[in-house]
C-alpha cells in the first residue's frame, strides 16, 4: 500500500509517427489535485485521453489502486471511477441540459453526486434544464460538462483545458468549485495551458515539454523562472539569438 490512487508509469503514447507522450510517470494520491501544465502540443491532452482510454498507450502502465487498466475500454474505466471532462466540452447538442446529465447518470457508480446535487452546485441549472445544450453559453456548457462527469461519481476527475475559450471571470467561478469537489472524495487531475490557474489550484505541479516531464514539484517550492524553463524549454529562453555567420 503506497497511497497512490492513480499511478502512471513510463507511459509513452504515439499519434501516428509522432511521440506525443514520452516516458511520463507520476502518481495522484487520494484527495489530491495535480496540475499538468505545458505549452500547446506538449502532450497534456493526449495524456488525459490515454488515461480515460480514448487512446492506446504504446508502452507503460496506468493503474488505479494498483490494478492495471491499460487494456480496459473507456466505458469500463468510467465504472472503475475515471471520468474525463473533455476539451471543448463536447455536450450532446441535440439534447437538453437535463438529458445531458441523465446520460452521465445512466451508468453511474454509487456516490454523493446526484443530479439534484449538481443542481445545488450550479443553482442556475434547474430553471434552464429544458434548454438545448447549444442554447447555453460557453461557461454554462462547461458547467454542464463537469456536471455530466460528476454524476458518474468518479474517484478521479480529469479536467482537460477548462479555461479554453472562456472569459477569466467565468474560469475563476468554475475553478472555485474544485475544493468542493475534492471535499466529496474526488481526486483531480487538471490539464491547463493557463499556468497561473493550474498552479493556483494544485497541490502538486507536473510540467510537460514536448511529451516529456520537464519539472515536478509543489507550487510553493517552485520559482517562476523554474516554471518558465520547464514550460518553454531552457534552450529556448536562454540561448542567445544565433550570430550571423560570415560567408
Amino acid at each position: 500500500m503506497n497511497g497512490a490512487l492513480l499511478e502512471v508509469r513510463n507511459l509513452t503514447v504515439h499519434h501516428g509517427q509522432l511521440k506525443a507522450v514520452d516516458d511520463v510517470s507520476f502518481t495522484l494520491n487520494d484527495g489530491e489535485v495535480l496540475a499538468i501544465i505545458g505549452a500547446n502540443g506538449a502532450g497534456k491532452s493526449t495524456l488525459l485521453r490515454t488515461i480515460a482510454g480514448l487512446h492506446r498507450a504504446t508502452s507503460g502502465t496506468i493503474a488505479v489502486d494498483g490494478k492495471d487498466l491499460s487494456k480496459m475500454s473507456p466505458h469500463r474505466r468510467v465504472q472503475t471511477g475515471i471520468s474525463l471532462v473533455p476539451e471543448g466540452r463536447r455536450l450532446f447538442e441535440s439534447m437538453t441540459l437535463e438529458e445531458n446529465l441523465l446520460v452521465g447518470a445512466y451508468h453511474a457508480r454509487k456516490g454523493p453526486f446526484t443530479i439534484e446535487r449538481i443542481y445545488e452546485l450550479f443553482d442556475w441549472m434547474p430553471e434552464r434544464r429544458r434548454q438545448r445544450a447549444w442554447q447555453l453559453s460557453g461557461g454554462e456548457q462547461q458547467a454542464v460538462s463537469i456536471g455530466r462527469a460528476l454524476v458518474a461519481n468518479p474517484r478521479i476527475l480529469l479536467l482537460d483545458e477548462l479555461s479554453l475559450g472562456l472569459a477569466p471571470i467565468v474560469i475563476e467561478r468554475i475553478y472555485t468549485l474544485v475544493p468542493d469537489i475534492v471535499a466529496n472524495g474526488v481526486s483531480i487531475l487538471i490539464v491547463e495551458q493557463d499556468v497561473a490557474q493550474g498552479v493556483a489550484m494544485a497541490d502538486r505541479v507536473h510540467c510537460l515539454l514536448e511529451g516529456r516531464t520537464s519539472l515536478t514539484g509543489v507550487p510553493a517550492d517552485l520559482t517562476s523562472e523554474q516554471i518558465d524553463h520547464a514550460y518553454f524549454g531552457a534552450e529556448l529562453s536562454h540561448r542567445p539569438p544565433p550570430e550571423a555567420v560570415d560567408p
Partner: protein
C-alpha cells in the same frame, strides 16, 4: 373525387414507406452506416414468414410475432460482428460490406426459392376494403399497415426521448466519444440500434408481402423509395420520415394517375426537388448535413 382517392392511396402507401425507412434512418443517424442490404433484409423476413413460420404451425398472418424479434436478434449479432468489423476499418468498407451482403442475400434467395413471386397469405383479408364514397376504396391491409407504421414511429419516438437506453442511443448519435466518457459501451448501443432497424424492416417486409407480390430482388427498389422518404423527410427525424414517406407515396400516385408509367418518375422528381430547394429535408436540421 378521383383526386381524393389518389391522395388517399398515396397516404396509405406512404405509411408503408415510412415503416420501411425508419430503420434505415436510425442506422444512418446512430452508426453513420448506410445499410445497402436494408431492403434485402425485409425480403428475407417475408420469405421466412411464408416458408418457415408455417412449419411451426403459425399462420402467416401472425408470422410477425416470431419474425420481428428474431430479426431484432439477427440485427444485433450482424452489427456486433460483421458491420462493427467494417466500421472499425473505415466508412467505405461498410458500403462494400453491406452491398456484398445484399448481393449474397439476393442470390441465395434465387437459388433456394427461385425467381417466382410470393405472397404472405392472409386469406380473404386481402380483398376486403372500406368503401366510404363512390370511387374511394380503402383496403384494410393498407390501412392496417399505415396504422402499424404510425404506432411503430410513435413507440420509437417515445423510446428515444423518454428512456435511459433511448437517450444513450441519441447520445452516441450526437458524439460517440463523449458518450463513451459517460460510460456508454457504444458497440452495444450500435447493436441495439441495428436490432431496432432489422426488426422494423422485417415488419415492413412482411407488410409488403401482404400487400403485393415479392421476389428475391424486391429489396432494391424498396430501398430506393426508403432513401427518398428519409431524404425528403429529413435525416434524424422520425416524424419527418413519415411525412417524407407520405409525400413520396402521394407524388407517386399522382404520377400514376396521369400515366401509369410516371409513378416512379413523379416520386423521383419530388425527391430531386426537395434536394434542390431544401437539402436538409422537410424536418431535418441543417447541421445534419455537416
Amino acid at each position: 373525387m378521383t383526386w381524393t382517392n389518389v391522395v388517399i392511396q398515396g397516404i396509405l402507401i406512404g405509411g408503408f414507406y415510412a415503416l420501411f425507412a425508419c430503420g434505415l434512418s436510425l442506422m444512418f443517424g446512430v452508426l453513420k452506416v448506410i445499410n445497402l442490404a436494408h431492403g434485402d433484409i425485409a425480403v428475407v423476413a417475408a420469405y421466412v414468414a411464408v416458408f418457415v413460420t408455417p412449419r411451426v404451425h403459425l399462420p402467416e398472418v401472425w408470422a410477425f410475432l416470431v419474425v420481428v424479434p428474431l430479426f431484432g436478434l439477427i440485427g444485433y449479432i450482424v452489427q456486433r460482428t460483421l458491420i462493427q468489423k467494417s466500421i472499425d476499418r473505415d466508412p467505405f468498407t461498410t458500403l462494400l460490406v453491406t452491398f456484398g451482403l445484399s448481393v449474397i442475400i439476393e442470390n441465395l434467395l434465387l437459388e433456394i426459392y427461385s425467381a417466382n413471386g410470393q405472397v404472405v397469405n392472409i386469406g380473404s383479408l386481402i380483398s376486403r376494403s372500406w368503401h366510404p364514397a363512390t370511387i374511394v376504396y380503402i383496403s384494410y391491409v393498407s390501412l392496417s399497415v399505415l396504422g402499424v407504421a404510425v404506432l411503430v414511429l410513435a413507440f420509437l419516438q417515445l423510446f428515444l426521448s423518454r428512456t435511459g437506453l433511448g437517450r444513450l442511443i441519441r447520445a452516441v448519435a450526437d458524439d460517440r466519444e463523449a458518450a463513451q466518457l459517460s460510460g456508454a459501451n457504444y458497440r452495444h448501443v450500435f447493436g441495439i440500434a441495428a436490432a431496432i432497424a432489422f426488426a422494423t424492416v422485417a415488419l415492413a417486409g412482411i407488410a409488403y408481402g401482404m400487400m403485393t407480390q415479392f421476389a428475391p430482388t424486391s429489396g432494391g427498389v424498396n430501398l430506393l423509395f426508403a432513401f427518398e422518404a428519409v431524404v425528403i423527410g429529413g435525416i434524424g427525424s422520425l416524424w419527418g420520415t413519415l411525412v417524407g414517406g407520405v409525400a413520396l407515396g402521394v407524388a407517386q400516385q399522382i404520377g400514376a394517375h396521369i400515366n401509369p408509367q410516371y409513378q416512379v418518375l413523379a416520386g423521383n422528381l419530388l425527391f430531386l426537388l426537395v434536394l434542390a430547394i431544401r437539402p436538409q429535408g422537410l424536418f431535418g436540421k441543417k447541421t445534419a448535413l455537416a
